[in-house]
Symmetry: C2
Subunit: 160 residues, 2 copies
DNA sequence: GCTATAACTTCAATATATGAAGTTACTATC
DNA sequence: GATAGTAACTTCATATATTGAAGTTATAGC
């Protein structure tokens, strides 16, 4: 993914996808949500090479989804923590997990359960409509494109 | 991402991430949810090269999230459609879009609105606990790892 | 002094993606 | 009936990114 037209995409979904739809980015974020904070743990628990991990952590920090915090000064040692922007990616990871549990699971108990602190239940969160509170899935919705975005897409079609 | 230990990962979230956390996979899926069905449209609307698109479509078909359907026999022409397994990825894309709208948007109206067919509202779906129906976010939950998964992770830590 | 640890960086080899162009088998138009 | 266009790809040389292994730096503890 290197085209400038994508980097400047009008579509916010495409921009998010461009940032995070990278195998290692998501693996790192998954680990962060499991509570992993340090370089070497992230490295061995995800299997990423140190060079790539280092590069991705810098990128994630640059985006603003995580921050480095020194936990000791001499020698300088850091841990990585999710920011509010990063924590807000929770639904993405949870959706991926739910899909994996449903379609890739072995039928047994999933390896990670999500406990709702409020009620104590082990749950698979699902999506609802904030207006009418009904559950929402793909077939309950349809996309409506803004005129500007529609125009951009027509231009892209024309170019081919 | 090529390590066999990841391909055989116990964690269903990691397995899902491994399949879809690829920039082009997600861009293609996003397009499919917008209703795009044909090779050349997918190619110009995502910006992926034909070679990569061809490879990714084969992979997506192999996974089972989309299927090829002939819409004309001579010459053979196909369109690509999401399967039930594919449509079930909707929350992943919607979560990415919601995040993008919130953190990457320009403050204006987002380029794509999601209309809930049932009530007609343009909405940003959110996650709720299926047990108590309260909204759920990162700080409302905690992960609980299965013993087997915990064991696998300890082994990975040890190896470093 | 010796060993261990954390957080990286470096490097050569390998793998993957890119853009541009080409291919195949038609249909539609002049 | 020749020419142009279209759809769905494939091919290829080049460019870019990733990998595994090893090295580096700064320090603590014995």
């Amino acid at each position: 993914m290197s085209r400038s037209n994508l980097a400047e995409n009008t579509c916010t979904a495409a921009r998010a996808v461009e940032l995070f739809a990278d195998a290692w980015m998501m693996m790192i974020l998954r680990e962060m949500f499991l509570g992993t904070r340090r370089f070497d743990d992230l490295q061995c628990l995800t299997g990423v090479s140190p060079a790539t991990l280092s590069q991705r952590l810098k990128k994630l920090e640059h985006i603003g989804v995580l921050c480095r915090e020194a936990y000791q000064a001499h020698p300088p040692r850091y841990e990585y923590r999710l920011t509010a922007m990063g924590r807000d990616l929770w639904p993405v990871i949870v959706s991926m997990k739910a899909w994996g549990d449903r379609w890739l699971g072995s039928g047994e108990e999933p390896p990670v359960a999500i406990i709702h602190k409020h009620c104590g239940a082990a749950v698979t969160p699902h999506m609802v409509c904030p207006a009418c509170h009904e559950p929402m899935e793909a077939h309950d919705s349809e996309p409506r494109l803004s005129p500007a975005f529609e125009h951009e897409r027509q231009a892209a079609r024309g170019q081919s």
